[in-house]
Amino acid sequence: MRRYFGRKLSIYALTFFLAVTINWMIPRFMPGDPVQTMLARAGLRPEASEQMFAYYTEVFGLDVPIFEQYLNFWSSLFRGDMGTSIWLFPTPVTEVLLSALPYTLGLLLPAIILSWIAGNKFGAFAARKRWLDNTLLPVGYVLTATPYMWLALVLAFVLAATAGWFPISGAYGITLRPAWNWNFMLSLAHHWVLPFLTLFLVSFGAWAIGMRNLIIYELEADYTTYLETLGAPRGLVRKYAFRNAMLPQLTGLALQLGVIVAGALVTEIVFNYPGLGFLIKQAIENRDFFLLQGAFFFIVIGVLLANFLIDIVYVMVDPRTRLGMEGEAAT
């Protein structure tokens, strides 16, 4: 087990190092001067522009040798300093991002966990049942092939713009201020439904199909035949198949995290939901590179943490990794 976690953690550490390095390198080695581009877009008066240029050259730390720039980048990162947002000047980027984080997590966590559980249950239930299987397969494939933002647009158009059952934009009513009262909570929940449903449905399709396929493979394995010849009840055989199929599905969850996060970003954009995705869009439109790079860090750290959590769950469900044998996730 120690070896398993050791390996995993070293991969995460390397990944983090690489991500930080990429994040540092891109603005500095891409064609064009980021500070100039940023200021050109801001459209300031010449004298203000000059001051801003001096300011940002210093903030980017572009006036010291390149190796020193790199070290400075790391040290300010560990102090939690990601620069100042240009779009919401003069709020620090970290503050802007932290205030958006609850909204993104509030969408993502329930969507990921519930769709995974529901998809697995339903996929296992549908496998090898002709009628269900024939309906599940096409629906599931259509759902997984749907771009998140398009499903969001369709849901928003049908259920919000046309039917008027749900609000179309924002995380709570525009007349409300965030507070711990019923009125606000209700509005929050009401605005949450459609973005959540979008994320849930697309992922649900993927997990249901994945589980269905795995169960079919498991039901063809030798141990299934053996159990059947022993006269084991059908339910028991399926239970074993389900348990075995859970492991690759768990690995799959770790692999799919990035895709689901990307889906959440665009879903937020459709619904003007004030999470990270909304901020990223604003950052791109306003050429706010500090904010964009800060958001990148948040996503990288979030995905790495989630990966680690999944590893822990994996150890709990797969005895082979616990006993130090080569398990499936050991690589």
Binding site: M149, A206, V270, F296, A330
Partner: protein, 309 residues
Amino acid sequence: MIEGEASERTDLVEAPGVIIGTGGTSATTSAGELLFFAWRNWKVRIGLGIVLIFLIAAFVGPLLTDHPPNEYVGPTSAPPSAQFWFGTTIFGQDVFSQFVHGLGATFLVGVIAGGIAAVIGMTVGFVAGYRGGMTDEVLSMLTNIVLVIPTFAVLLIVAAYLSVRGVVIEAVFIGLTSWPWVARAIRAQTFSLRAREFVDLARLSGSRPLKIIVTEIAPNMSSYLFMTFILLFGSSVLIAATLDFIGLGPTEGTSLGLMMNNAVLWSALQLGLWWWFIPPGLAITAIVGALYVTNVGLDEVFNPKLREM
């Protein structure tokens, strides 16, 4: 050998919920026979049929309209009519023209990005799996890192700093970041294949490693490699659409994701201009969904165990 087998099942899960079996019957089945089974399989027929329809639309469509995709040619916000089949945008651009030109960009991204990812993934997978040892350690580490890193976020940053973006550049970057699962899956299969007798025989007879990989190992997974490309094509199309939607699409020309981006930007949702954002997303869903279904069908063709009785 044992390690190869142990990791095999993990590698069955790839693109969202899509599995590829270990198929590999091409050595014993003739091409004609495979084509026969492929044609008899309704999933392959329907899937390829849908993709073909959109492919034809991408080629023929631009000839049917003389409006350039981004020019202001008609009445603003007009619903579909005989003159403007898919209606017009809030600026009076022809949605049909944007749609068919966007389809072309979609196929281009799929082919380029899918191709690049397939080549990198196969190279890394074959070399790591065949060489083993230190080479494998290093390549696997690299693969695992790219696998955990949220590549979409990397693409965001890269695209944001590019002031001029084209469909091809976008596709190249997508291809460069979406290969890791392919490498892992192929590495695992190569691991189990390289210990087989026919590979030993080739090695004893003095074949070079490259030749062994190309003529002995790869043909045994040809079906698998083909299906891998189909999945990569589908996922690349989705990634490109997502990037375009965020506002990091091609700065020149048009794409399906860009259409949806503009529709949202100019409140098509609130104004009820459904013809602006429904067609592009529908086309992506149909193409990618059809590819996934084709893939399942092909899996049944290559892997007789899965064929419906």
